[in-house]
Symmetry: C2
Subunit: 225 residues, 2 copies
């Protein structure tokens, strides 16, 4: 990983963030990283596109857990009309499994957009979607530890790393489950914009960053050590 | 705080959660606790009402930080048509300041609904809204540490606690800034549903709970010690 990569960027160009939404996404997978990026955007220029199959509000609701409470957010673009994106964030969640049309559209979008991305950031079982798109083949990546077995089973060409809060390989930043999305995006901010800004963001959200990507209490909890 | 209060609840009745939204709310103030409650709702019956002045999508955007990126969520009820609520979650954020009509409606709602609430949970500068509603008078409460000075200034009848991740006084659970909302809701889940369920939720979101409400690195960072 090149140090000081942030010095090479065109500093006046906003970095273009995209988030891949689908029915049954996990709320914190999206809003952990997004709150960090919202906060960062007060200090550095960013743009944001919330992608979905349609422009209808998209819900965390998933029919397999029909009694659960849920929330809906408003997409700003369909996958078919997506503007150029530098960093794509792919969350996980109950809806990241299976093969319904919405999931297949996310996977197809990842496959299509990947070559033009500067960064792909996955949270939780979002790495399963990226894996199914084939873009993690031969790469090191991690995922949710409670859903480890079924997620790594989707693609054996990926070098799955069981003990990791997050893993960086080339332009792919993959995190462990749910709240780990906050740590991976702060690590990415540190890499791209420098440690000072990453600390500024984490201090503004009163979050104590995990600085060591290999510290992972949940791998042991879920029997992966 | 009564131990085993969770044993007294009507276990078959869903606990009714409400979230007070307003323009310029902080995303993680809402979705940190909500992701925990979403996860909890797979295990225990909950209902959710997302409250706003209108049923239009409500955005994290605030005109004072016009260059920041933002997201919109879909409310499910107006304040005027709110159903009965057991636990009201009040987030903070840039929009929690000032005295425009939306902010005044939130404050008025808190004042009106407070006597019938079982719990009031505030995150970040959300405690400033509760304070302005007068419901924290004579009570211990905390808030965002970076915005400490301006928040505590809204109401001197509150016993503001500077060094705290969260504070419980009677039915009011107030947390420090942004990510502290996750810790306060997990502490509340532990109190209401028991430690086992709180641990189950935190493990599912791969989050290492802060178990000690008095541990607060940010009070010192922001010069409150």
């Amino acid at each position: 990983m090149a140090p000081h990569r942030h010095l090479l960027k065109l500093t006046d160009q906003p970095l273009r963030i995209g988030v891949a939404l689908f029915p049954g996404f996990q709320a914190l997978d999206v809003f952990g990283p997004l709150d960090c990026l919202n906060t960062l955007s007060k200090l550095r220029p960013l743009t944001l596109t919330l992608l979905s199959s349609t422009l209808d509000p998209i819900s965390t609701y998933h029919p397999e857990i029909s009694n659960a409470i849920s929330q809906s957010v408003v997409p700003t673009s369909t996958y078919k009309t997506a503007p150029p994106i530098d960093l794509l964030l792919v969350p996980g969640g109950q809806g990241a499994r299976g093969s319904d049309a919405a999931v297949l559209e996310v996977i197809e979008f990842i496959k299509t957009v990947y070559p033009s991305l500067k960064y792909l950031v996955t949270v939780c079982t979002g790495s399963g979607l990226a894996a199914r798109a084939g873009v993690l083949d031969g790469k090191r990546a991690t995922t949710n530890k409670r859903a480890w077995k079924e997620t790594v089973a989707v693609r054996d060409a990926v070098i799955w790393v069981p003990v990791a809060r997050w893993v960086v390989d080339d332009k792919v930043w993959s995190s462990a489950g749910v709240s780990a999305g906050i740590d991976v995006i702060l690590a990415w901010i540190a890499e791209y914009f420098g440690e000072k800004l990453a600390n500024e963001v984490s201090e503004r959200i009163e979050y104590t960053r995990q600085l060591d990507s290999t510290v992972d209490a949940f791998a042991e909890l879920y029997g992966l050590v």
